[in-house]
């Protein structure tokens, strides 16, 4: 094929009326060079089209300049090389849908035109010397804040039973005295639970814990069929697909589907993957990376239009029964029952809200639990984490506990005559130190398990993020 290509080129070089070399600093060349490094076709297409869209906008402004000056500007700014690529119909459809017609540029008076021309010349000079950049080829920015989960109707507060016990069990089910029925079809054993808590003043505790101390509530945010009658044949398939995935990857201890059925995934005595980087505290006791210390209960939800849809009343009732059972069985304190969104952090960026499931709208009251949204966020108060504009864009504003924690940091800074930033940095150093200590402790434990010949023990390479599975 190479020989053929050369031959074709040689012949056709003799008549090439339209092909001309582009000059250095050319916009188009710049786009070409950058896009060559992008391997994913969709990301590449996105980068190219976004880059061109920027020029389209600039071109629209240039069109407002009166004709003779406009022609000059096109030449000076080299926009004439880009204009063949500016179109309102980039897909070549007969009737492009959803694309606004180009706005007709307003006629400008001479003074305004001169001003704009001057500005355009300066801008052109700047453009010609800087590389073309488009927005990152990832997700488009969200335009409006959307809730991740809705507020739910409150169930009448009941008296929590003093005891919940297993009444009966079968091959693939268990029935408890509070009416909770657990389907165990997908249940799987896992790595034994093992963790050490930290004390605010004394650091890592000596005692190694093997019992869960808390519950993290999640939403699955899955791509599942809408809960509509017309999808009846598919509804259970998608839930079962999700359950198979969770089982294979040891994700969550429980999943509650949209019909209120409770499925056990990872056995309660084992750790499951559900928390990622996360922080929560009770009194002076602090828990880092909660896969080991907390049980994960997830509500199956459908992800639609950039948010998780609300859970059903059946899920609400089942979730409450399950929470009662877990709290009784493991003697879990009420303020250690918390939504995942309130605990999730990104240590590298020092940001809270890495995941935002139930970061608003968890029905604490209906579960007979104290409201954790109002509680000062431990990740902020103890470790100086912050938030960025992306959280604000999604949430509107952070939950009240974050603001309260920031107030605590500000008070402390004022009392010590230092800045809030300095206080934050101190706290962040503490987080880093504790995280390193926890990692080292876990590595040592893993090594001991392997040495002891523990079946299924996994040893991870140093440096690999080890808080997960």
């Amino acid at each position: 094929m190479a020989g053929t290509a050369v031959h074709l080129r040689a012949r056709q070089n003799e008549k090439r009326p339209t092909a001309r070399r582009s000059g250095g600093g050319d916009f188009v060349l710049s786009i070409e060079e950058k896009s060559r490094s992008i391997r994913d076709p969709v990301a590449k297409l996105r980068f190219i089209r976004r880059s061109l869209a920027r020029y389209q906008e600039a071109d629209r402004k240039l069109q407002a300049v009166p004709t003779p000056l406009r022609t000059l500007l096109y030449k000076v700014t080299r926009f004439d090389r880009v204009t063949p690529l500016l179109t309102t119909n980039p897909n070549g459809a007969a009737r492009p849908a959803g694309r606004p017609e180009p706005r007709r540029p307003a006629r400008l008076g001479l003074p305004a035109a001169s001003l704009l021309a001057g500005f355009a010349l300066v801008a052109a000079g700047y453009q010609a010397t800087r590389p073309v950049t488009a927005e990152p080829a990832g997700e488009a920015p969200r335009l409006a804040p959307r809730p991740v989960a809705e507020t739910l109707p409150v169930l009448p507060q009941g008296v929590s039973p003093s005891r919940v016990w297993l009444v009966q069990s079968g091959d693939r089910w268990e029935l408890y005295s509070n009416g909770l029925r657990v389907d165990t079809t997908y249940a799987i054993a896992g790595e034994p639970r093992r963790f050490r808590a930290f004390h605010v003043a004394a650091g890592m505790q000596e005692a190694v814990e093997e019992k869960p101390v808390g519950i993290l509530f999640h939403t699955s945010e899955s791509d599942i069929w809408p809960l509509e009658e017309s999808f009846n044949e598919k509804l259970r398939d998608s839930s079962q697909g999700l359950l198979r995935y969770l089982r294979r990857n040891h994700v969550y201890h429980y999943l509650i589907d949209r019909f209120g059925q409770v499925f056990r995934v990872v056995e309660e005595t084992a750790k499951a993957n559900h928390a990622g980087h996360s922080v929560w505290a009770r009194g002076d006791l602090v828990f880092l990376n909660l896969n080991n210390a907390f049980l994960g209960v997830s509500f199956e939800t459908r992800w639609e239009g950039g948010r998780a849809l609300p859970i059903t009343e059946a899920q609400l009732a089942a979730g409450r029964s399950l929470t009662d059972y877990l709290r009784k069985r493991w003697e879990i304190a009420a303020d250690l029952c918390v939504p995942h969104g309130l605990t999730s952090v990104n240590p590298r960026k020092r940001l809270i809200g890495h995941h935002l499931d139930w970061a608003r709208g968890f029905p604490f009251e209906a579960f007979g639990l104290p409201d954790q949204y109002a509680r000062p966020a431990p990740s902020v108060a103890l470790f100086g984490f912050g938030y960025d504009e992306r959280l604000v864009r999604v949430m509107g504003r952070p939950w009240a506990g974050v603001r309260e924690a920031e107030r605590i940091l500000a008070d402390e800074a004022a009392a010590r005559g230092t800045t809030v930033d300095e206080v934050r940095r101190e706290r962040q150093r503490r987080f880093d130190a504790w995280l390193a200590e926890q990692t080292s402790d876990q590595d040592a434990a893993d090594a001991r398990r392997v040495a002891a010949g523990a079946v299924g023990a996994k040893v991870r390479a140093p440096g690999v993020n080890r808080i997960g599975g």
């Binding site: 089209r49 070549g92 999640h218 995935y245 990857n249 940001l351 992306r390």
Partner: protein, 354 residues
């Protein structure tokens, strides 16, 4: 910060490809090649792209209780009853056409809904139903191919595109039309930054698009495709076009000398088609008012069922040499999978639009 769970599970363990299907929102964009001869659907599954297709044809047979029972017993036959007829459509059509020695009918002609075919839309709708499920998420994206307009048929193209768009929207999709040649460029010329010439040689027509950085500069089509060859050969060798199609697809080799009258006719009409295509391309580029400036030789990709016979690329290249194009050509190649290139490109468009 992320709103859904993929990051969590990536932290938790090495994420599997399936996670995208299970977790990400709107993870099911669909690419459709609605061609005169075949309808192809492509969808991403993990890292793979899965494609399915149906023959875009039908044949009515007289209804009788026995016939209906016989057809009912065979699960691979798609059909519906229309008054006194049983309409068999999709991939089973060819079998029945050969069995009854009858001509299969097409809901589309020359790349558009066939205005002379009364059953055009009901059949095409039935065929599409076998490939396109209802959208799982409101506003899920679907991109479907449309040809470039043939001079004088612009209004028909607008109608064709609007009918398909409305149908897909009715299934809950956000439907986006994409030029067929451009879709080929999307699927095959990613390494060239979507710059080059994409040609789709289908049943009803051939579509060619020259794009630079994914923006189409020239789009044209000729009303000659596989059907033209089948009809023309059928006329001179006295065979049904459907039969010609089957024989043609059984192993035509354009790189060797024809062995009989039938092959000779096929060679003649293939050459005629390619001549028309290259001449159309040359004329379109020569008369284009504004072309992006580039000194980069352009690759040409050939796709579609009509480009499948052995020797087609060489035939195209020979013809190209005899009529030098006013742009440099780097290479001529056949698409990695000619039958699905358009649908795969439409899928990239759908994923981009998501």
């Amino acid at each position: 910060m992320a709103e859904n769970k993929d990051h969590l599970w990536k932290v938790a363990d090495d994420a599997q490809d399936r996670i995208e299907d299970l977790v990400k929102a709107g993870a099911n964009p669909l690419g459709m090649d609605v061609g005169t001869s075949k309808v192809v659907a492509s969808r991403k599954s993990g890292k793979e792209i899965q494609s399915a297709h149906q023959l875009n044809a039908f044949i009515p047979v007289k209804w009788a209780p026995f016939t209906e029972r016989t057809i009912q017993a065979q699960s691979d036959i798609a059909w519906y009853r229309d008054g006194e007829d049983l309409v068999i459509y999709g991939s089973a059509t060819e079998r029945f056409a050969n069995m009854f020695n009858a001509e299969a009918r097409r809901p589309m002609a020359d790349g558009l809904l066939n205005p002379r075919e009364k059953q055009a839309w009901p059949v095409l709708e039935a065929i599409l139903q076998t490939l396109v499920p209802k959208a799982r998420t409101a506003g899920e994206t679907l991109a479907f191919s449309v040809p470039a307009a043939i001079a004088g048929k612009e209004a028909e193209l607008v109608y064709h595109e609007a009918v398909l768009r409305k149908y897909f929207q009715g299934l809950g999709y956000r439907a986006v039309a994409i030029n067929e040649g451009l879709a080929v460029i999307f699927s095959e010329l990613e390494d060239q930054n979507f710059t080059g010439i994409g040609i789709s040689c289908g049943g009803g027509m051939c579509n060619a698009t020259l794009a630079y950085l994914s923006i189409p500069s020239i789009m044209f089509s000729i009303a000659k495709g596989g059907d033209f060859i089948d009809r023309s050969v059928g006329a001179v060798v006295d065979e049904h076009a459907t039969r010609v199609k089957v024989l043609k697809e059984e192993g035509l080799d354009l790189s060797r000398a024809p062995r009989d009258k039938f092959e000779k006719a096929l060679h003649i009409y293939y050459e005629d088609l390619v001549e028309s295509l290259v001449e159309g391309l040359r004329r379109a580029i020569s008369t284009a008012e504004k072309l992006p400036r580039t000194d980069r030789p352009l690759p040409i990709v050939l796709s579609g069922g009509t480009a499948k016979p052995r020797g087609f690329r060489e035939l195209f290249e020979r013809t190209l040499r005899s009529r030098a194009l006013p742009v440099d050509v780097a290479e001529v190649r056949i698409a990695s999978d000619p039958l699905t290139a358009t649908a795969r490109g439409a899928l990239i468009a759908a994923m981009y639009e998501k």
